[in-house]
Amino acid sequence: MKRLLLAALLVLAPLGAETYVIRNATIMTVAKGTLKGSIVVKGGKIADVGATVMEPADAKIIDAAGQYVIPGIIDCHSHIAADGGINEGSVSVSSMVDIQDVINPEDIAIYRALAGGVTTANILHGSANAIGGKTLPLKMRWGKDAQGLIFEGATPGIKFALGENPKRAGNPAGGRGAPTVPARYPATRMGVEDTIREAFNETKVYKAEWDAYDAKAAKGEHPIPPRKDLKLEALKEVLEGRRYVHVHCYRADEILMMLRVADEFGFKIRTLQHVLEGYKVAREIAAHGAGASTFSDWWSYKVEAFDAIPYNAAIMQKKGVVVSLNSDDAELMRHLNSEAGKAMKYGGLSETEALAMVTLNPAKQLGIDNRVGSIEVGKDADLVVYDKFPLSDYAKVQKVLIDGNIYFDRDNEVSGRAARQAEKQKLIDKRQ
């Protein structure tokens, strides 16, 4: 049995087929400083990092002379690679829906994210409602099927949202054509809080029912199980600490509200997303243990996003919050490296601290820092090779490895363009 399990684990493990040595690079490990040297990639993992390494005989050599290697970028807030809408905005609590059901591995945004050095992204439900749908991190394994993208073993999440979006009662139920249909509750920030509270009150009752049943079943009795409710099941997992809560928020007051509600119901907020006024309540955020995932310098797109400063990320970090910079956008996702660079300008973070905001910190926030986020022996070989200093706008991604497999190669991409264009032209000509 044990052997079987082991075999199964081996099959599940994302094994890279090739052994690589990336030579002569400037390696920004994030965890252990920056050094000049080589990385050995074997079996999908980082086997060795250092100024000098033992190069396995069968290794393929990637000469990165004059180039830089960083850990794969992790985007803690993305909406790519999902089919058929990212909002189930019809109801105030949509925790029954799951992004995992609608993964679209053929979304070209995945490939483009790869070209921007992203190897893992937290694919979130939208912010249309107070409690949104279930979410999960994906690896950008372009070419694999939906299951093949899932970051195996990662704790799944759920999206909450505060403020303008969930209280937008102006969404007429029934669409624009049917303005007479009553609008969705809530219409105020108070209502958003109430919606979340009510959902957890309901969940507590549901959880008690199931706990009672589980206790009886454990004693060998055979009672009829309670009805399984997908909406409450997800929130039960939150109460049991088996599902991370990612909260879309802007204003300091609603951030404090959310932290208090979570404390009261006995669960943790894993990350605050956007959190543009986080700098005002950084100490409280740190005390709760929540991470903060924000934009570098994107704000004023709506009234609740006005009181923002570019120092937000650095200030929160200095107050003891684990901070990441995210994209929330398929385009911004392609240059998160330069977003991180802005944290050096605004707030005076070091190169490593800035880079950590798009690598190790989001990995910590997603609970996957044992696997990814830095260049350390034993971690997944998710690596990005840049031609220039990676926090610069001028840096271009040369190669991206995930699990030790090359998923993006700039040379192949560029040299293949003519052939792809010709193939397309052939089809266009055929059209008529």
Binding site: D83, S90, D101, V102, E106, D145, G174, A178
Partner: protein, 465 residues
């Protein structure tokens, strides 16, 4: 009472017999589908059944003899997924799934009201508990009507049989195999009453993520379907316990939505893109429901066909191959995906054939002989053997629905559904000479009125596609 029933039955039998004299088609080429082609033979249909078929068969003395010189006899064509027999139903079930690409995002426009299209103004659903867009209890067998004018058009194109489903809603209802008869009691049309549940992930009238009630997104549809199956399992559990010993137990409320789901022996799920095929096959496995996929547009991709093979799931292929819209913007730069799909879609049957996947064609609103011919020809041009094309419209759908003991080929004892043509059935100059449905003889309509094309909701002979 009993006497009356007997008398009625006798009356019916008599009337039926009057309409159905024995018919013998002799000296014809007979393409049996299940066996070898008989280059010159006779087939006799009596009392609605194929009495005998073979080379050296004498026409019975009482039979109406048709000289088959120069004619070919085929099994009646079967539309593997249809709305025929439902006046007022949408012309084609939409295999639409939310997302990108071609016709994928089609929604069916609302139809004129009919029992199968009960779309009364109801408040938007607040969640799965409101059972949105669910009429799982609806049975096509109960709703079928010979008054649907599309029946005559389809028959004139060589169709004798259809797997007809209610198609409005998420759990739209249960399909039936019907014979395309005119002027009969509806019950006579039904060959097999319970084919399974038609499931869709779109709804008439639109609605989106930001309003319109639950569900408004693809993940919402999926969550809803999943919840329904969880509820059905729980409902069954409680019902069984109550049946065993009702004393002292709270009576479970009767839930017609769950009853309809529980009595459906298989589900039809929409899937066009490879991603959708993967998603729906996994979903059906999770729900532990035998599934048939419909749409199948990207099954020309070998990896999609391999998935179907892996899950041993049949697929119903729309015969409406994707085409560039006539009013397309000439400046529009289409994606490689769109171009490739349009270019290769018609090779799907050949790819499925090679992969050993069970598939059948469905008309998807096509019911004009020439349109069908053109559609089949496109697949044949892509390498599909003619016999395989014929099978995908006869025996294969019969096998997929488990009615191959009744229809789908010309064999002794099977139902007398035949189409007689001058020329090979899918050639463009071929003329349908005669159609036998359930042993009843029909001539093709001289000039069948054109349909309104895809999405047309009613019989409106004035509307051209």
């Amino acid at each position: 009472m009993k006497k009356t029933v007997t008398a009625l039955l006798l009356g019916c039998a008599f009337a039926a017999a009057q309409q159905r004299p024995a018919v013998a088609i002799r000296n014809a080429k007979i393409v049996t589908v299940s066996g070898p082609v008989i280059s010159k033979g006779t087939v006799v249909v009596r009392d609605g059944l194929i009495e005998v078929v073979g080379e050296n068969v004498a026409a019975p003395a009482d039979a109406m003899v048709v000289d088959g010189e120069g004619l070919t006899v085929y099994p009646g064509l079967i539309d593997a997924l249809s709305t025929w027999g439902q006046p007022g139903a949408p012309a084609a079930p939409a295999a639409a799934t939310a997302g990108r690409g071609g016709r994928g995002a089609t929604t069916t426009p609302p139809a004129t009201p009919s029992p199968l299209a009960a779309t009364a103004a109801v408040p938007p659903a607040r969640g799965p508990e409101d059972r949105p867009f669910t009429t799982s209890w609806l049975k096509m067998a109960d709703e079928v009507s010979a008054a649907d004018p599309r029946i005559e058009r389809a028959r004139s194109a060589g169709f004798t049989t259809a797997a007809s489903f209610p198609t409005r809603g998420i759990f739209a209802g249960q399909g039936a195999i019907i014979d395309l008869l005119s002027d009969v009691q509806p019950g006579v049309m039904v060959l097999a009453p319970s084919l399974g549940q038609y499931i869709s992930v779109t709804r008439a009238g639109g609605g989106g993520g930001m309003g319109g009630g639950f569900p408004g997104s693809l993940m919402g549809y999926i969550a809803y379907i999943r919840q329904i199956y969880l509820d059905a399992a729980h409902y069954q559990l409680v019902k069984d316990a109550y049946a065993k010993d009702p004393r002292g137990m709270e009576r479970p409320a009767y839930d017609r939505a769950l009853e309809g789901v529980l009595e459906s022996k298989r589900i039809l799920l929409p899937a066009n893109r490879r991603v959708e095929i993967d998603r729906m096959l996994r979903f059906a496995a999770e729900l532990k429901q035998p599934a048939i996929l419909y749409g199948g547009r990207e099954t020309f991709r070998p990896e999609a066909a391999a998935l179907l093979k892996k899950y041993n799931a049949p697929v119903l292929l729309s015969m409406r191959w994707p085409e560039r819209p006539r009013d397309a913007d000439p400046e529009e730069v289409e994606s490689m995906r769109t171009l490739e799909t349009r270019d290769k879609a018609a090779s799907a049957p050949m790819v499925l054939e090679s992969a050993g996947v069970k598939y059948a064609f469905y008309s998807d609103g096509l019911d004009q002989a020439r349109d069908l011919q053109r559609a089949v020809k496109k697949a044949i041009d892509r390498g599909l053997p003619r016999e395989a094309a014929l099978r995908a419209l006869t025996l294969s759908p019969a096998e997929i629905y488990g009615v191959a003991d009744r229809v789908g080929s010309i064999e002794k004892g099977k139902i007398g559904n035949l189409v007689v043509t001058r020329g090979e059935i899918f050639d463009d100059r071929t003329k349908v000479e005669m159609i036998l449905v359930d042993g009843r003889k029909y001539a093709p309509a001289a000039n069948p009125a054109p349909t309104g094309g895809r999405g047309a909701t009613t019989d409106d002979p004035g509307v051209n596609p």
